[in-house]
């Protein structure tokens, strides 16, 4: 499987936008569950998000499979965001 | 301590320490003394000496700037010392090694007496 054309385009898009989505979702989740005052937890999660984003982008290229990359990013992103949102109201 | 001394001491120590580490590597040791091949114990000695000098550089940093900023500056000095060495080593390897010797001879007494 070579890296060129649309496949490459969508892979790069997965790294940029999918990675951002995952980092955002993880941040929402961590902001709700980190054992600190809420505002502190949100800040800590946000500071961590850039490392998560970097790791996600690298992982996309390691996976190299379009379907796996997109699903592997978007599903956890949505699950984390939803869990974070729900827990944020509860905790 | 004199302002210039405060700035230069850690730089010279880091430079000398990095020189010690580089001379422990056969490739760079041959750059300086092409005809000599150092035995492993000597190489380990150089490595230990280099590491020791790098650690010693932390002392004037913390003394002058306090623990938190001192450590940050020390990290910066490590990079600066290594950068200077890389340039000098590629250009004048023998002078580079000589300078490291001078640096040790100058800084260590100053550090111990101040």
């Amino acid at each position: 499987m070579g890296l060129y054309g649309w496949r490459l385009f969508w892979l790069v898009a997965a790294a940029i936008f999918g990675g951002y989505a995952l980092a955002s979702g993880a941040t929402v989740f961590l902001g709700a569950v980190l054992p600190m005052v809420r505002a502190e937890a949100v800040l800590a999660a946000t500071l961590l998000s850039f490392a998560i984003y970097t790791a996600a982008a690298i992982w996309v290229f390691a996976a190299r499979d379009l379907k796996r990359a997109w699903l592997g990013l978007l599903l956890p992103a949505m699950a984390l965001a939803l869990a974070g949102w729900l827990l944020g109201g509860v905790l | 301590m004199n302002a210039w001394l405060i700035v230069l001491l850690p730089l010279l120590l880091c430079y000398a320490g990095m020189t010690g580490l580089s001379l422990a590597m056969p490739r760079h040791q041959r750059q300086v003394w092409p005809a000599v091949a150092l035995a492993p114990p000597y190489r380990n000695g150089l490595r230990a000496l280099g590491t020791g000098l790098l650690a010693l550089a932390l002392l004037p940093c913390i003394r002058a700037w306090g623990p938190s900023v001192g450590v940050v500056l020390w990290l910066g000095y490590l990079s600066a010392g290594a950068g200077g060495l890389v340039l000098l080593l590629s250009w004048r390897p023998r002078s580079a090694a000589l300078l490291a010797g001078v640096a040790v001879a100058v800084t260590v007494p100053v550090l111990l007496t101040s």
């Binding site: 499987m1 890296l3 980092a23 955002s24 979702g25 941040t27 929402v28 902001g31 709700a32 600190m36 005052v37 809420r38 505002a39 502190e40 937890a41 949100v42 800040l43 800590a44 999660a45 946000t46 500071l47 998000s49 850039f50 490392a51 984003y53 970097t54 690298i58 290229f61 390691a62 996976a63 190299r64 499979d65 379907k67 965001a81 974070g84 949102w85 944020g88 | 700035v7 990095m18 580490l21 580089s22 590597m25 490739r27 760079h28 700037w65 306090g66 938190s68 900023v69 940050v72 500056l73 990290l75 910066g76 990079s79 600066a80 290594a82 950068g83 060495l85 890389v86 080593l89 590629s90």
Partner: protein, 550 residues
């Protein structure tokens, strides 16, 4: 579903490293063009105060005196009330040693930022020709974090900074022998030397590069990654209010209400803080929701040696009835571990915590970062000049040519426009309308011209010519300075004017380096030419040319 994993298992062991190499090469190259500018101008921006001082050679139009600060604030307020009675934002800056006038910043009816300077003796706006209007060293700081493009620019820099983190990680993965090659630089060996240089500057400054990229992102965290803040604190401003235990932001009510006299608030705030104020800021003045904040003077000596310096003092009032809301005394630290971490990251990024030693280290390591981008971008082409890799099929020669042009324009061209900025500062007549903006327009114009020049000339010639012009502009800067202001490096030396002397000496050293670079390139091109002349057009089109023929 599992076809991906299956293929991954069948692929050779080096596949992961290969893809990382691809990512590092092309991601690094695309991001590197602007990252070079970000690092270069950021390194210059470390010395923004010194550069500003150099760019304002005349004695200040008014002298700093022990003014009655309350009366200065009154002057500022009456000017703002006349000009923009309703606004989102007023700010009144009190005179400092470097800027001995009243500085006003405000948003006009069109929501555009405006600024004005008042003479503290009269309260009248300073005439255009009273001083050399210039952004000074702040120009480089603005380039560094927003390319003079506001929020869009901050986003652009953020995107490139993320790309840099990815490029750094992938670079570490593909560079197998980090410690073995730690001290290696073998000059004069073509591609090998460029790779050595790229590895050496990257590895040696790696901790700094990670730190500066990450702390840069952390500085604008609420802009770049607002998800958690938006979800958990949907009400505007409520996050910061809770984080820092501050009064909540009040949304605008659209009910008119006058701002109380700010001089009264100033005196109360100074009494609460126990120190002089530097700025008075009013949020939506003219509206019944207006709030006023008074900030204490930043004391560099107090901040030195501290990564967590705390506030310089901050007092907040209801700006309509003058009620005192909140007092942060100088040195006060609010919030918990995360807030402290973010504050330390900011301190680390801004290089103001350890005097000139820290500034010089940041300057050198920042320039090492710029050198990493430059050597990386050049390496991409040096590799492909020897032998085209045909990554882009029949378009390969054209893509390579584009890369060459952008390399020249973004590296040599940017350096050239930075020094051109200092020339423009001395050449643009004092007193013209928008003088400071013309300096910046000139900077961008020169940058565009260098790109055009690179597009029109063979790459090898373009490199040499731009480096030579850059060297000439740097080395003759003292002459220009002498002709236009009567001062130059020797005068500064005699006067013991450290900042101005430092600027000019650094420029001279930089000119010498550019000259050396141009000389080295020229000599190599001369050596290479006899062999190539007959068969091939100018040096740097070789790759493209052989590709076209092949």
């Amino acid at each position: 579903m599992n076809s991906g994993t299956a293929i991954a298992r069948e692929e050779p062991a080096g596949a992961f490293r290969q893809i990382m190499a691809w990512l590092h090469t092309w991601g690094g190259l695309l991001a590197g063009w602007l990252l070079f500018a970000i690092f270069f101008t950021g390194s210059l921006g470390v010395f923004d105060d010194a550069i500003t001082r150099w760019m304002k050679p005349e004695a200040p139009a008014v002298e700093l005196r022990d003014w009655d600060r309350a009366s200065l604030v009154r002057m500022g307020q009456s000017y703002l009330e006349e000009t923009v009675p309703r606004s989102h934002f007023w700010s009144i800056g009190l005179p400092t040693k470097d800027i001995p006038v009243i500085r006003l910043f405000y948003e006009d009816e069109q929501e555009q930022f405006q600024s004005e300077r008042l003479n503290p003796a009269t309260g009248e706006p300073m005439p255009n020709d009273a001083e050399r209007e210039t952004e000074g060293g702040h120009h480089f700081v603005h380039m560094h974090y927003e390319f003079h493009a506001g929020t869009a620019g901050v986003w652009l820099v953020g995107v490139f900074t993320m790309a840099m983190l990815v490029a750094l990680v992938s670079g570490v993965i593909i560079h197998k022998r980090i410690f073995k090659d730690f001290f290696s630089f073998r000059p004069g060996k073509g591609q090998r030397s460029w790779l050595d240089a790229h590895n050496a500057v990257s590895v040696l400054s790696l901790p700094f590069l990670f730190m500066i990229a990450y702390t840069g992102l952390a500085t604008f965290y609420s802009l770049y990654m607002p998800a958690a803040i938006e979800v958990h604190y949907p009400e505007e401003g409520s996050f910061f209010a809770e984080l820092l235990d501050q009064p909540r932001h009040r949304p605008e009510t659209d009910v008119d209400a006058a701002v109380v006299p700010l001089d009264g608030l100033l005196l109360r705030a100074e009494a609460e803080m126990g120190r002089a104020a530097s700025f008075v800021v009013v949020e939506h003045p003219g509206d019944s929701s207006a709030a006023a904040r008074v900030f204490g003077v930043f004391d560099e000596a107090e901040a030195r040696g501290k990564l967590l310096p705390g506030t310089s003092g901050r007092v907040e009032f209801d700006a309509v009835n003058g009620e005192l809301w909140d007092v942060q005394v100088p040195g006060e630290i609010r919030g918990g571990a995360a807030t402290a971490t973010q504050a330390v990251m900011r301190t680390l990024h801004f290089a103001g915590f350890g005097g000139y030693t820290v500034r010089w280290l940041y300057f050198l390591l920042g320039m090492a970062g710029a050198a990493m981008m430059a050597t990386g971008a050049i390496l991409v082409m040096v590799k492909r000049r020897q032998k085209s890799l045909r990554e882009f099929g029949i378009h390969t020669p054209r893509v390579y040519r584009l890369v060459e042009v952008l390399n020249v324009g973004s590296i040599a061209g940017l350096a050239l426009s930075c020094i051109a900025m200092l020339w423009l500062n001395r050449l643009i007549p004092i007193g013209i309308e928008d003088r400071a903006a013309w300096e910046i327009r000139g900077f961008f114009l020169v940058w565009a011209l260098t790109l055009l020049h690179a597009a029109l000339r063979p790459a090898g010639r373009a490199w040499v010519e731009q480096l030579l012009v850059c060297a000439a502009l740097c080395l003759t800067l003292p002459v220009l300075n002498a002709l236009t202001t009567g001062s130059h490096v020797l005068v500064y030396w005699a006067q013991g004017d450290g900042p101005r002397l430092g600027v000019e000496l650094t420029v001279i050293v930089f000119g010498l380096l550019c000259g050396l670079g141009a000389y080295g390139l020229l000599r190599r091109q001369r050596q290479a030419r006899p062999l190539l002349n007959a068969a091939r057009p100018p040096l740097l089109q070789r790759g493209a040319e052989s590709e076209a023929r092949g």
